[in-house]
């Protein structure tokens, strides 16, 4: 490929030169990228591979902890280490003790300076965060966990227990997990018989964003004996086709409070069994946190679902 410049003159293949230099330059960020911390066996030190696949090494018991994901903060508190929390993100609101802690923004606009001022020994946050790299470059220990289903929550509880250097971490996390599971089973037993096996549609966002069977919410729904109209193969939070929804004819609908008003006006929805029998469960703003967060409060979430089911299936 030659580039003609003027009469009778042909020039070197400049474009290839450019592509070659482009490739060379692209190697730069790769070469200069931060190296992941290596782990070396050390007594008393805990090394965990977090959700990013990076080994996080904690030599000492972390006494000052910052969490930037509400579910992780809830796990810390459930493990009875709430007093070690020194800072949380703006969405953390449970338990009450957390409400008085300094709020450090969200994941995308974390107040870096305020965070660093708190001098944390460990920062727990979600996987997809830009602040992670920055924190590590400042020498702060970071562990990224992002529980998306029940198995993840179980693992997160274990990892956080280990990271916190709790005595008998494994058994304590097991205990907590069993406690949650037992309560879930108790809730599942109380489901009215007429509600068992009912088809449910759980809307998480306007625009037909549903919580499918693969999601955390879906797992809870399944646990209490409901059948999700959005099957596994559609993914965790798909945007469903309204026609699909109408055809699957759910018998119960869980939906946020704001969106309830115009349900029957949605095209084709007046034919739905849930609309005709008025089996609609409204999720208030404060309850939505409990339902949506994939954390240790899944039994409470199930309890909320139960309360609504008992109401509509009386």
């Amino acid at each position: 490929m030659l580039i003609q410049t003027e009469a009778g003159r042909k020039v070197l293949p400049n474009l290839w030169l450019m592509i070659a230099s482009a490739m060379l330059l692209c190697i730069c960020p790769l070469v200069m990228a931060q190296k992941a911390p290596l782990d070396a066996p050390d007594s008393g030190a805990v090394t965990l591979i977090d959700d990013r696949g990076i080994a996080v090494k904690l030599n000492q018991k972390p006494l000052r902890i910052v969490t930037l994901l509400p579910s992780l903060g809830e796990i810390v508190c459930e493990l009875q280490a709430c007093d070690r929390l020194v800072g949380v993100d703006r969405y953390s609101n449970w338990p009450d003790r957390v409400k008085s802690l300094p709020k450090l923004g969200g994941l995308d606009d974390t107040h870096l300076e305020a965070l660093v001022k708190l001098k944390p020994d460990l920062v727990l946050l979600a996987r997809s965060s830009r602040i992670t790299q920055r924190l590590e470059s400042l020498g702060i220990a970071v562990m990224a966990l992002e529980p998306q289903n029940q198995v993840d929550v179980q693992r997160a509880i274990l990892y956080i227990a280990l990271a916190l250097h709790l005595p008998d971490a494994q058994s304590r996390s097991e205990l907590l997990w069993q406690k949650i599971q037992t309560r879930l089973d108790q809730v599942a037993d109380k489901i009215p018989p007429s509600a068992r096996g009912a088809r449910v549609y759980f809307e998480v966002g306007s625009g037909y964003f549903a919580a499918g069977e693969a999601s955390f919410i879906g797992e809870t729904l399944k646990r209490i004996g409901l059948i999700n109209v959005v099957p596994l193969r559609m993914g965790a939070f798909p945007q469903v086709n309204p026609e699909f929804l109408v055809r699957s004819n759910p018998q119960i609908i869980f939906i946020g409070e704001q969106s309830v008003t115009d349900l029957s006006r949605r095209p084709g929805w007046d034919q739905m069994q849930a609309i005709q029998e008025n089996k609609i469960c409204r999720i208030s703003a404060e309850n939505s946190d409990i339902l949506v967060r994939s954390g240790p409060r899944m039994a409470e979430a199930a309890q909320l679902m139960l309360a609504c089911l008992q109401r509509v299936y009386h």
Partner: protein, 331 residues
């Protein structure tokens, strides 16, 4: 340093220097709790680790954007050209979306981790311009190049939107990136930007006579014996590199690349060898000042600096429009 043709240097350079120093000092005293003049002494580590790289990073990113903008306006002979013309903004957005998605656990995660979202943004911006160049099959025809840039921008932007729709989890982060912020800039980023600025600045300065010749038209520049085509290719590459480096570190910052060379040209009528550096300085001061305002206006909360530059830039455009309608002949 006097200009090539005008023997007396303008005071603009000196003004920019003074402003830069003022912004720098203020930037160091603006902390997470608002203005804290004495915190200088107490939180020295904080200042060095966080505030200093942010302020320096804002200057460097602004300088890169100013340089890229000056190159864009010189290459395309259009006073409204900006560095994102050839699709680099959409490319960066797509790179960030892909990076954030892959970060959330796939087999490629370790590789992406190494490169980081920053690296993905850089590769995306740079890759988009490469695709534009290939689509336009070189820089021979300006119109074709610009059209290819539009196509690439639109298509990559759509791809990024689609990805974000399919993986709504990354929406917040992707959007935060698009709005621009200096809070993620560390010393590592500053070094990368400084290196890019020095390299690109040197190349741009060395090829500045071609930019001057281009002001009279491509054919005239060729008739003056200037190696127009090859230099244009190099300058497009340099422009893409500057833009990619700045966007990777600070996200998409609007208007700095457009306004900086504009403001310089309205004050100084000189050749590119001189105005290129002034554009860097102006861009640095613009972004440094905007960053300061973004941190100060609602302290301790922060505004995304890209939003602020958009508002300021929009205001500047309004002023220009009024000046035009009042009878000035040129932009």
């Amino acid at each position: 340093m006097g200009s090539r043709f005008n023997p007396d240097p303008s005071p603009l350079g000196r003004w920019l220097m003074l402003l830069a120093i003022a912004i720098f000092m203020l930037g160091l005293t603006l902390g997470s709790e608002g203005w804290a003049f004495l915190s200088f002494v107490e939180d020295r580590q904080l200042v060095i680790d966080i505030r200093l790289p942010r302020t320096v990073g804002a200057f460097l990113a602004g300088a890169l954007l100013g340089l890229a903008g000056a190159l864009a306006q010189g290459l395309f002979r259009n006073p409204l050209a900006d560095p994102y013309l050839l699709g680099s903004a959409s490319g960066a957005g797509l790179g960030v979306a892909i990076g954030l998605i892959f970060l959330t656990g796939t087999s490629l995660a370790p590789w992406v981790m190494r490169v980081g979202v920053t690296g993905m943004a850089f590769l995306g911006a740079w890759g988009a311009v490469l695709v534009t160049l290939i689509l336009a099959w070189g820089v021979q025809h300006t119109l074709r190049l610009l059209l290819a840039g539009v196509v690439v921008g639109v298509v990559l932007g759509a791809c990024a939107s689609l990805l974000v729709l399919l993986y709504p989890k990354v929406q917040g982060s992707a959007q935060a990136f698009m709005l621009g912020s200096t809070s993620f800039v560390g010393w590592h980023g500053c070094i990368l930007m400084a290196g890019t600025l020095v390299l690109c600045g040197a190349v741009a300065w060395l090829t500045s006579p071609v930019l001057d010749g281009l002001a009279l038209g491509e054919s005239t520049a060729q008739s003056l014996g200037l190696p127009v085509t090859s230099v244009r290719l190099v300058l497009v590459a340099i422009m893409a590199l500057c833009t990619a480096a700045a966007v990777a570190q600070t996200g998409l910052i609007a208007f700095v690349g457009l306004a900086a060379p504009h403001l310089v040209r309205s004050q100084v009528k000189a050749v590119h060898a001189r105005t290129l550096f002034l554009s860097c300085g102006m861009g640095a001061v613009l972004l440094g000042g905007a960053d300061l305002m973004a941190r100060a206006l609602i302290a301790p909360l922060e505004l995304p600096v890209g939003v602020l530059t958009s508002i300021l830039g929009g205001g500047y455009m309004l002023v220009l429009m009024r000046r035009l309608s009042k009878g000035g002949r040129s932009l």
